[in-house]
Symmetry: none
């Protein structure tokens, strides 16, 4: 019934993912079509439909690191939480400002809205590692007494990342390093003891 992954052509798989990435960049997600991917990849359409359930799924696989390949992220730990978080937030802000990454991330986000399954997938593969790594750094700061003991860590990391995401998605304003610093400063203020 369902196809045999053992006989899958790695060659075709790579060609499809590469073609998808190229086309995503060239024409954007809304104008991305299965036919174009197949043509560019030199592949039959059926080969795409055989292995992926939707256009969004192909795009996800083409942009996201393989589930297994998710590296163990770790934040810098200089002993100064606020400084370390600033470093991280500045890096994220810079990424969002990169046109290529901006475009790709918006493509992902578009699909996340309309397909909860893919949303879950993305959160798991892409977001959770970052959130968990950040939580780990906050725990270390807690242990050092820099942050409140009873802190809701989940809410705390969301408070760190959410403002950048919010600005980026709604294009409310530019994601400058200064803004990243402001967010870090305010968030840390909210987490301090007392």
């Amino acid at each position: 019934m369902s196809p045999d992954p053992a006989r899958r052509s790695e060659r075709s798989r790579q060609a499809i993912l590469t073609a998808t990435r190229e086309l995503l960049f060239e024409v954007g997600y809304p104008k991305l079509t299965i036919e174009a991917i197949a043509a560019r990849a030199g592949v039959g359409k059926q080969t795409i439909y055989r292995w992926w359930p939707s256009k969004g799924a192909v795009m996800f696989d083409s942009l996201l690191p393989a589930p297994a390949g998710a590296p163990e992220l770790a934040l810098p730990d200089t002993g100064d939480v606020e400084a370390d978080l600033k470093t991280v937030l500045r890096a994220i802000a810079e990424e969002f400002e990169t046109p290529y990454l901006d475009q790709m991330t918006r493509a992902l986000a578009t699909e996340v809205h309309n397909d909860p399954t893919l949303g879950e997938e993305m959160v798991k593969r892409l977001l959770m590692p970052h959130l968990e790594a950040t939580k780990e750094r906050l725990r270390s700061a807690q242990a050092a007494g820099q942050l409140a003991a009873g802190l809701d860590l989940q809410a705390a990391v969301e408070m760190l990342f959410a403002p950048l995401f919010y600005r980026w998605m709604l294009r409310i304003g530019p994601l400058t390093p200064e803004y990243a610093d402001t967010v870090a400063t305010m968030a840390v203020a909210a987490m301090r003891p007392h």
Copy 2:
């Protein structure tokens, strides 16, 4: 060249917007088609293409209050900022949890990604009034000495709304009243003097 707005049929305009709203709810944004809108509204397709540049623009007009009609919002002011903000955030959380509003807001968000023009429009029509009203309340609290004098008000309001939006969009967790309270508490902590 471009059509004369003075001769526009108000009857057709309303029929189109109503049909769009109904279909959005019934089939969802990705399956919304111009043909279906025209058919439901009893309108020629050309009449839609004449007045709107894209499917997204029709949807926007059907969901968003008219620019002129944007009401002057004002937040409650009991004297206790934190309590007032909790009230507001709880209300927003509740809205996002309503299936109908959830669906509509996702439709808007999808389009915002792919059309900066519409994004700007939405921010201006829908978001800014809320942000401005909230800023006003924060100013009043500053005057009362409850918040730091040098506070970056724009960053502050974003820190209030962003976490709810973040959770909602990425479906990271439920938007409970408790979560709304947590966000408000933390954000206010970040804004306090010292």
Copy 3:
């Protein structure tokens, strides 16, 4: 109910007929549209619909002489019927070979197929005068004893014109002067006494 011809704008009428003729030549009958005629003539579409029942009718009026204006045709009469008919048939053959007239006549013919009313109109306005004039010449030849007395004149004139029309319409072969002569010779042979 129906419009008052007394108030009809002669200016518009002429502009419409001229525009129609120009467009017929430029784009051909199948691509001729009422909108284009109106635009070219600087006229409202309604003005066309008010005075003509169909696209074909406009074309007819634009190409055919006014009913009243049908000139009294008369064939040459040198005393030699065959020679006179050759003169006439050669002239007709030449007309059909003129690209402009070829195109216009085909436009008329197309419409004649699909609208018997227009067909009748065309026959009456364009064809009958020629047929009658030719009949008249044949009668004169009969009187001179050159043609059979009991000749079916209607059948005879049709036998003269039909072959040219046939070749032209079906593009079976070129309408050369030689062919015109052959037709005249054979037809006259068929009409001679005995």
Copy 4:
């Protein structure tokens, strides 16, 4: 680039031709639409556009015998040319008077005007066989000394068929058996020796 005829669906081809024939009869050629054909045939529009260049071409294939299938026609040969030709012309006159055939032939003729390619096709497939068969009969009569030896056979056959076609197309008069006889008699008179 162009489609592979080997993979063409015979099922669809037949369905399209049948649907076209039915619709031609039901609504007439000017109101025949590709959409209606596709719908009636249970076929995608693209399948029609893939294999035929125009609406006229579909109609032609639906009405005309396949090129290969053109039967070898032969006229009766009783030894009396005039009688044999009367038989043939009466048959043709009768065909043109049949409402169904009249309608179909007019549809063909309409398209012939506007597309020389189709005209050629029709002449080759439909007309030439008849003309050639008739020429053959005339040759046999020539051999028997009934017709002039130096006769221009092409002009002769055209003189036989053209008058019927002329009357039919321009609706000048009814195609009665008597008229068929008159045409045959006159034409034969034109072909006789001397």
